[in-house]
Symmetry: C2
Subunit: 317 residues, 2 copies
């Protein structure tokens, strides 16, 4: 297992001074923090490397006290970040929903790619990048990119996963009627997304598919639903308070290249047992076929799953 890499992003958002100009710790090209106040010229790179095992966050950071921030997790394969532009776009969209300063995507892109270069391993990994609202009262966001080795998901991709449907509690149209509920943003307030996995484990399952209180299939806590009916591959339309799936977008691109029909639409929970195949798609696990939904068997299309995952693994950013 390769050691994790942590890069803090110094000039991370529009209209925000993070103090770099005044000479706080910045970095040299070698990634060693230097104090620019001590006569060292300002560095060309707006990020700096730190020890991921050491404390880096204060207890007054709003990520800690309020889960107030946004994140993305992208796959790292062949020393490259998968679907980086899609993740950056979604990161910016999440910032807008949370009224955070707009992240400087050119800076984030550079910092993320530098962190992945420093990871320096052929082992499959992931990069998680986070922007918090920062220390309470400062109005200055804090952000970083963290690269680490991914779990081995070969069993999930091969045999499949057992999934239970759980009520998300919201109507499917809640993002339109109540935008303050932040549905459709990838926020750090993910305690519910962890709680549902514990509920799934209690029910003997591996993962969860959220359904709306009015009966529509939504998404997993960290994944997008893909359902095949006949020759058509469908995913829930993103006007239902769910995330636009980055991995699902790649799968749709590939399916369309293969001449398969794809569609975004409302999928009712009642339709799910009639699907010819179901997958949960995510950045790190990629396409995991559903072998069981609410304790009922679902046919796993082993060949198609392997083809989808091969296509996903072949992506370059």
């Amino acid at each position: 297992m390769t050691s994790p890499i942590l890069y803090f992003v110094d000039d991370l958002a529009e209209g925000v001074s993070t103090g770099l100009a005044e000479g706080v710790l910045a970095n040299t090209a070698e990634g060693v923090p230097v104090n620019t106040a001590e006569g060292v010229p300002a560095p060309a790179v707006p990020y700096h490397r730190v020890d991921p095992g050491a404390p880096q966050i204060t207890v007054t950071d709003l990520s800690v006290t309020r889960g107030d921030g946004i994140f993305e997790t992208a796959g790292v394969l062949h020393r490259d970040v998968q679907a980086l532009e899609a993740h950056l776009r979604r990161f910016a969209a999440s910032a807008r929903i949370l009224d955070l300063p707009a992240p400087r995507l050119e800076v984030w892109r550079e910092a993320i790619l530098a962190a992945v270069r420093a990871y320096d391993s052929d082992e499959p990994g992931y990069v998680k990048f986070i922007m918090t609202r920062g220390i309470e009262g400062t109005g200055v966001p804090v952000g970083w990119a963290y690269v680490a080795t991914a779990e081995d998901f070969s069993a999930e991709r091969g045999v499949g996963i057992r999934v239970v449907t759980l009520d998300r509690g919201y109507r499917h149209d809640v993002a339109k009627t109540s935008p303050w509920l932040l549905q459709g943003a990838k926020t750090l307030s993910y305690a519910v997304n962890k709680a549902v996995l514990r509920e799934a484990a209690r029910r003997g399952a591996d993962d969860v598919l959220f359904v709306s209180s009015d009966g529509f299939a939504l998404e997993g806590p960290t994944s997008t639903l893909l359902a095949r009916y006949g020759d058509t591959y469908a995913t829930p339309s993103t006007d239902q308070g769910i995330l636009a799936g980055t991995t699902q977008a790649s799968v749709f691109d590939w399916l369309e290249e293969q001449g398969c029909a794809t569609e975004y639409r409302q999928i009712t929970a009642a339709e799910l047992p009639r699907a010819d195949a179901l997958w949960l798609l995510s950045s790190s696990r990629l396409a995991a076929p559903v072998q069981e939904l609410d304790s009922m068997p679902v046919v796993v299309d082993t060949e198609m799953t392997a083809r989808i995952n091969a296509a996903l693994e072949a992506r370059v950013s």
Copy 2:
């Protein structure tokens, strides 16, 4: 403004070793960290003081990455913690809802009181105590008590606050039907509770009262509703996925001593404009009278508000 105080809690939960016995940094009676591995006897006090301005949390702590943890905020007045036992009970209840190890309340009580003693000021303050699920993969929670000076809420208590009702998106009975949504726990996943305050500000208001998707008044993002109808003081019953208010409990105790009728019941949103008086109750701001609800004026009972706040300020733990 008195400097904030930060105490980490070392022996914080049942069935969990935080490494104190193996000689990690602990503290002496003077609060100076010492290394017990270096021959210094294990300390009698299971907490240690650290610099609140220095980073203390790693980026892999689940509070940061998932808002996965619990907290309480209690008022500090006359160098004492208000309603500490009620806050400790609610802290333990939140831990149960999140399947966290049970906090050792006797340890937390001692650490919190020590931090408040170290705060050493007559200025009104607050103590926020947090237990996170800890660094991902370790299963060892991390916790601390942070004491700081409170905001001055005299205007809010005197003139009153402007409040808007916002849909919480959930039915009133969601905690019973879908406990995995963690309603009724005070979690670190509070991004929505901050987002609604921004929405309130956009509407020219100071605070929010959540209503359920099926039309029941619930609670504020960090407060409990108190409504007077005739001679009866009512608060929403806590079987509606809301927190048991610690300040509201103190107010009910005092009202009953005064011979006033109190009740827990369902209060519909439609009933709110007919209330004879409305307050939002919380640990730091105490009783803030509502002077405007959804842009409609509400009568402020200045005398009763002053009496309630005097009673709240007179509490000892």
